[in-house]
Amino acid sequence: MKFINLFRDTRPLDWLVLILVTTVSVASLFVARATSAKASDLVTVEVKGKIVYRLSLSKDTEVDVKGPLGITHVVIKDRRVRVTQSPCPEKICVRQGWISRGAIVCVPNRVVVTVGTEIADRSVDAITG
């Protein structure tokens, strides 16, 4: 009863805002879908924007990378990737768990693990050597 009363306190603009932010979120979903490459085996591990490892999703392995805070431990197993250890305070990257596409981002330790995509905003299309 009391809860319904609260609805009387809302204003039309509130609902417009709700529609607007939902639209933007849905739009971001489409944009994210469009930009992320699909069906690729390439796992890249970056620290501070530099690629440290290029790995294959189909080859089980474990690597350590050193970021500003310390060592982040990345595991590839059964065509999935996860961060198992990280020195960051919130451990968002660890809690994200296994992924088989998309990205794991650890902002404090500046580590980005991506599946399937090369750097999208790189100035060259390929590297020889």
Binding site: D9, T10, R11, S25, A32, T35, A103, V107, R110, D121
Partner: protein, 166 residues
């Protein structure tokens, strides 16, 4: 007036910091889910006492909160700082422009949305530099923002109602 404001700022900041620390103890099922209960306090002070008080509380909350949690001056701090400042300013701007046409519910959504958008933007500009990775995280974070923003908005509405009744 000035000292009254300062007292308010002190008490409300304490509330905000308390909520900020307490919400970290709640286990969240999704890694990026942050309730942002402190925004209830900031929103209340914005509506009741104005922009100056709200900004002060925001800054104190960010600073003391990061000192307590131990992320001071790290990337997390910068994200929290910029997110808090932009979200408070955005809420104030909406309140200023729409006044009675918008309630705490809409403002809370605006606050959460700009908080997340700013954090994503700053994370991209300063730390990640991978547009695809940031974009990949954006939908989940923005959707969670709508949920937590709604919850905080309803809570703020309830508190305001109580205050008005008493």
């Amino acid at each position: 007036m000035q000292s009254q404001d300062n007292l308010r700022i002190a008490i409300l900041s304490a509330f905000a910091i308390g909520l900020h620390v307490v919400e970290r103890l709640i286990p969240s099922p999704v890694p990026w889910l942050r309730f942002g209960f402190a925004n209830i306090v900031i929103l209340l002070s914005l509506i009741l006492y104005g922009f100056r008080v709200a900004v002060m509380i925001t800054l104190i909350r960010v600073l003391v909160g990061s000192l307590l949690v131990g992320t001071f001056l790290g990337p997390g701090f910068l994200l929290s700082f910029s997110g808090g400042l932009v979200s408070t300013t955005a809420m104030y701007a909406c309140l200023r422009v729409f006044r009675a046409a918008i309630s705490a519910f809409g403002l809370s959504l605006i606050g959460a949305f700009f908080h997340n958008l700013t954090q994503l933007g700053v994370a991209y500009a300063l730390f990640i530099r991978r547009l695809d990775a940031v974009l990949y995280l954006a939908p989940a974070i923005l959707f969670l923002g709508i949920i937590t923003g709604s919850i905080n908005g309803v809570a703020t509405l309830a508190i305001i109602k109580r205050l008005r009744e008493s």
